[in-house]
Amino acid sequence: MSDKTDSAHRHGASPRGSDESSTSPNSVSTNAGSTRQSPVTFSFNGRPIQALPQDTVASALYRAGRRTFSRSFKYHRPRGLLCVAGKCPNCLMNVDGTPNVRACTQPVQAGMQVTHQNAYPSLDTDFMSLAERFSWAMPVGFYYKTFTHPWMWRIAEPLIRRAAGLGRIDREFRPEANHDYEHVFAHTETTVVGGGPFGLQAALDAAERGEDVVLIDDQPALGGHLRYAPGENSTLPKAFTGDTDESALAAVISRVLDHPQITVYTDATCFGVYEGNLLAIAHRGLDSPAAQRLTQLRTDQIVVATGASEAPLLFENNDLPGVMLSSGALRLIGLHGVKPGERAVVVGQAERAESTSQALQAAGVTVAGVVGPADVVKAVGGKHVTGLKTTTELLACDLVVVCGNWAPDAGLAAQAGGQIEWDEARGVFATGALPPGVTAVGAATGAGLPPSLDTARKNGANAKKTFVCPCEDVSLHDLSTAIAEGFDHIETLKRYTTTTMGPCQGKMCKQAAIDVCAQETGRTVRETGRTTSRPPTAPVPLGALAGPHLHPVKRTPLHAKHDELGCVWMDMGEWKRPLYYGAPESKQASVEQEYWAVRQRVGLIDLSTLGKLEVVGADAGKLLDKVYTNRFSDLRVGRARYGVICDEAGIILDDGTVSRVADDRYFITTTTGNIEFVQEWLEWWQAGSGWCVHVTNVTGGLAAVNVAGPKARDTLAKLTDRDLGNRRFGYMRCRRAQVAGVPSLMLRIGFVGETGWEVHYPAEHGEHVWDAIMAAGKEFDIRPFGVETQRVLRLEKKHVIVSVDTDATSNPIESDLAWVAKLDKGDFIGKAAISRAQARPPREKLVGFVMDDNVLPPDGCVIIADDRPAGRITSVRHSPVNEKVIGLAWVSADLAAAGGTIGMRVNGRLVTATIADQPFYDPAQERLRQ
């Protein structure tokens, strides 16, 4: 791999490689693309294994003599290397704690811990292979036929889960398995998917036209099949067809790697094409077996150069270890220098079988015979192939090389909206008409592929041991049975048998399944059609999709203060807020102390999380009148008013205070976390109106605290020259003031039910003002209080919290907020719906209640009347001043009258509460006006 691909892979947020890598690209003569120079040792099931520089995990194991690499999904049949290209399910292993790693494409790192999967106690002796004896008990559609009662499934599920499936997730934390995944967003002009000869040519062509190009290949090095099998000159694109050195593979690759317009991603799988030519690309981690990066690449042009996959032929025991695809055998030889066997039988047709035999012989393998596909009866052997039975003889061998059919990998073209058409002459489904922005080249179009053989022959062999789908252990017999049962459409056949739904995503089985379906139903292949291609075209680790563990957190300017004071934090949307101050084990005591400080002396709470907006302009009042249910154009400067926003259906969306700070300037607070929505909402109703008004979000720029309690005035009076007396600064007034020398906006409002001021001031003075207030309140024994205390205080006042006490069906009338809906003012959002709600008898009402016994039901507890659910509690707390449990609940309207009784079940006991229509504290509002 070149430095350029390396750097693009490691750092490139953009597809452009960094230019600092002026060193020449690595030699590609080691076609495995390895950068390692000397042998290393890794461990397999605890035993040391030597690996040469060109090795993958699988090739090193194969050289060391291992032949069984996995056990199959259902029957636990032994499976060996088949494709050696990362396309089949046969070599899945656990590498450093990551399950389902394809060992044949996983480069070796020194010290790697590799273990087998899906077999007990070992790959060679797997007790679960007894499952095959009971294959009669697991017919196709087993799940649907057997578990006809839920209890059956409950018993069977744990057993099936243990026996079936692939890999196991390691629940133990292991540092080496703890990968950092990242997501990268990039864009380019042309993306070529596939680094074979046609992909290389397409990349050069586009780059020569001056386009920015990204070339993606899922192997460790470029070159496609030319890496291990020479191409016919006649079938190669023009860059390869000269006789000069320039046309050799290494030279063409160098041209690509050196081209300033081309960025290369190797070891990267493009597994999906999404709307707007967005490609999803999983990059294998350079130093870990899991894909560590997911790139979302936006591109103007996609060139599908994904080539073709060789698929197995159908005969009995076609899944035995030692039965290998011709491309797999050639890859072992050409890429890894491993001899695939001693004595081989080649199954295939004349020319291809011939060239494959020659390659095997050149590698020192004895070719015991070449057999035409039609003459094969079965492969013979227990745990490994020992021979091939033909219609005339038994050929002893330790390797059966199958020259299978090549099927174009056209899935990405199909996902991009392209047509996939049946090419009768070649016997393949290949790309047809493609949408704008997508082209296909090379074998994906069917070009240059050898004509396909009819795979759907049986030769009188055991159809139960003839595997069509190696991933899901679906046999020829299973397919025939399913078709006989009526699942004769290729899409229903797929879903019923799960053929094509395993890790290979159809690369090994799709065409064979279609052929079988066509043959059994007497339809043509064209009529049979193919199943839909969807992402992912290849397995992708979930971690790569999930991405990094990033979670935005918002902290108020007073965050450090709260930490210093030892608060318990709570999450409120993205914000962190103090729940209360003190140790978790003394929560009750801490909350009560905070509570009494506010009720009897003075308390201080951080309100910086409130959403804050400035609405400015000649028409600001007009906009607010339209959006809020109450009136603001008539609000006098220096006054504040509570307001509610509803949608057109009369549902409460938000609430807060609106203060008029100047003739053309309002200051609005919104619920914590709802600021973005309220801003959008105001801007929406303003859009296109032509009104002169600007809405500005000032949340982040301002800190805010509430100083509340009988001594709040005395505390603040030390810090400001403003007259805080009732005559000059009464309830629901707003004033600009210097507080502790900081220009602030003071609002006299009383969410917690005591004399109090909200102070909004520049965030950079957050701690200064907080400290000044704490110092000024010291003589009154001031205490900071948290959200939990605030909730008790406001509940005693029956103040509703939008989206705690209301939900997506609550209107102001039923929420005991009818007074905020000014139905006599002009048009506003929700007026029609609220008018209707007022005219009809309510279905439910939000009411206060007092528990008759002192039990504390949980928030959300169901209200019961006449043994039926009749509502739910939204908030409930112990009220220290009342020494009672109080709360808010939605109840059906007939239960809502004051003095009525409602029931609920708490800890299995039926308890009752009495409806109260007045606030539980200071109903006359005297204290907050003091």
Binding site: Y274, E275, G276, L278, Q296, R298, D647, E648, A649, E676, Q679, E680, E683, W684, A687, G688, G690, G826, D827, K831, A832, A833, R836
Partner: protein
């Protein structure tokens, strides 16, 4: 869903930067029937082909604008700021 929307201010951006504001509908005049309000609140034409929609560029210029989006292909053919709309 991964299409691009040409914001009238910012140019082509990923749909994930935007908030969908629904079909452009005309709000019933005050005093309209309950049916008119209900269908305005809850009914959508859900046309199959280009339709005029509201979009808001949340992670960009924070402006509401109109977009003609083909509901079959998600192709956005045309966008305009409300003031400029005919």
């Amino acid at each position: 869903m991964s299409f691009l929307i040409p914001c009238p201010n910012c140019g082509k951006r990923s749909v994930y930067e935007f908030r969908f504001g629904g079909e452009v509908k005309s709000r019933p005049a005050p005093g309209s029937t309950a049916e008119a309000w209900l269908s305005y609140s809850y009914a959508t034409a859900n046309r199959e082909r280009p339709q005029k929609e509201w979009w808001y560029h949340t992670h960009g210029c924070r402006q509401w604008f109109f977009a003609m989006r083909d509901t079959l292909t998600n192709e956005v053919t045309e966008t305009s700021l409300p003031e400029e709309a005919p």
